[in-house]
Amino acid sequence: MEFFSSLLEQMSTAYDLLVAGWGVQLLWGIGWTLAVTTVSMVIGAVLGSLVAAAKLSHLGRLRFLGESYTTVFRGEPELLIIYLFYYGGTQVLTGVARSTGSIGPTDIVNMPSFLGGVLAVGIISGAYQAEVFRGSFLAIHRGELEAARAYGMSAWLRFRLVIMPQVLRLAVPGLGNVWQLTIKDSALISVTGVAELMLTANKAARSTHHSLLFYTVAGILYLVMTSISTPIFDRAERYTSRSFLRPK
């Protein structure tokens, strides 16, 4: 009896803490996590396609640059890159501002936390996306590229009409993986003070001393986000590869 009443009590405390107390902030946290992930994915897509193009180039120097990019940013701990961008960025901005005399000698210009965070996570995401795009490009049937040349298409037309649609089609499953990685990486930018889900859960846990509750809830929310993305990418894959599936 005592056990049940204590359980009930705990449940009502949890209810109070989540719904009345931190619920709205946790929802905001989810919003920020998705925002950080989306913006990082976009930054990563731009960088990733450039790096993939460099790695596929026939110019040795460009290939070297591309290789170095993916080696470095896949080989370093994510947290280190984030520190480098956030604290390193702050140091650079402060240095520049001080040397131009626009701030006093003891003032500091902070790296904007959202910007520093998405740049760092975007650059890491770009390294993984570059591999995905490169693999997709190599999977395009060579003859189709040759046909595009034989029909007088310029490099730009070949890219727009033949390469890009096929790379996107082939890249969808791989991008689904990168999206999951990027959601998880976004938790690391809590160190820069962006109020995404991880930081919110952290704050809630510390101020209420209910670590178990809040980290479990945050864990469930991350799992929901990553698992919802699986069927969405599956559906996208079915759509983009419709020319290869049996017709209905």
Partner: protein, 271 residues
């Protein structure tokens, strides 16, 4: 196809007429191996030239050097009298001087490939309008109308909204021929168009090619189809080890092979 059209295709052009395509002294090496050893070739409007040869004789390379899918090491290509300008490039090899010119000329030389090479993410209809709309800058509606007519002609109009991987090889190759026709090309290049097909599908593709020959299209056809070479083409060119071994009237060539090499080649084929 009407008899008058077929007859018109066989009329000898006047000597001063500009050839639709002319190749002079074309050479091409892959590494140490010289694949083309100074090949010359002329096709006038309405000519159907079958290019024969055993594998490794350089026949596909010749075709691919004409539209610059491969860059010839030396030699001249003229299309409708216009010289494709080349310039010296890296390592003593030449490269096209003006890629725009090459792209413009390629659009006049529609190619049909052994493995069809239709764009697999586009429907058949989209395959037919992509280059006319984007390369030739013709109005989309007009291109669609022409594309549907061409698909009716090659007998796969019902498949116009299919994606290429959903069709048989014969249907894909007929779609590819329709894609070539949609460019209103000056010359059509066929690179072993029936070699990748199951034997029972070869006939449907050959029938389409025969009808093109009969309406007076200018065609260069790299092929192993002896029947097509003998009965449909206006000239047969036999390549052996990168050189023109023999060239002539198909009936004549097959009745009295001019060289030992060609004789052996057709005997091996009839075995």
């Amino acid at each position: 196809m009407s008899a008058s059209l077929a007859a018109a295709a066989n009329v000898e052009p006047s000597p001063e007429a500009t050839p639709a395509i002319s190749v002079k002294e074309m050479r091409k090496c892959f590494g140490d191996h010289e694949v083309l050893k100074g090949i010359s070739l002329e096709a006038h409007k309405g000519d159907v030239i079958s290019i024969l040869g055993s594998s490794g004789s350089g026949k596909s390379t010749l075709l691919r050097c004409i539209n610059l899918l491969e860059t010839p090491d030396s030699g001249e290509v003229r299309v409708g009298g216009e010289l494709i300008r080349m310039k010296p490039g890296q390592g003593g090899h030449q490269t096209p001087a003006d890629i725009r010119q090459v792209e413009r000329i390629r659009a006049d030389l529609a190619m049909v490939f052994q493995s069809f090479n239709l764009w697999s993410h586009m429907t058949v209809l989209e395959n037919l309008v992509a280059a006319p709309v984007h390369v030739l800058k013709r109005p989309r509606a007009e291109c669609l109308e022409q594309a549907e007519a061409l698909l009716k002609r090659v007998g796969i109009w019902e498949r116009r909204n299919y994606y290429p991987p959903h069709m048989s090889g014969g249907q894909q190759q007929r779609a590819a021929i329709a894609r070539a026709l949609a460019m209103n090309p000056k010359v059509m290049l066929f690179d072993e168009p029936t070699s990748a097909l199951d034997p029972e599908l070869v006939g449907e593709v050959l029938r389409v090619m025969r009808s093109l020959a009969e309406e007076g299209r200018t065609m260069l056809v790299v092929t192993h189809e002896m029947g097509f070479a003998r009965d449909v083409s206006s000239k047969v060119m036999f390549l052996h080890k990168g050189e023109v071994d023999s060239l002539g009237e198909p009936k004549e060539m097959f009745a009295r092979p001019p060289t030992q090499q060609f004789k052996q080649f057709i005997t091996n084929f009839n075995k």
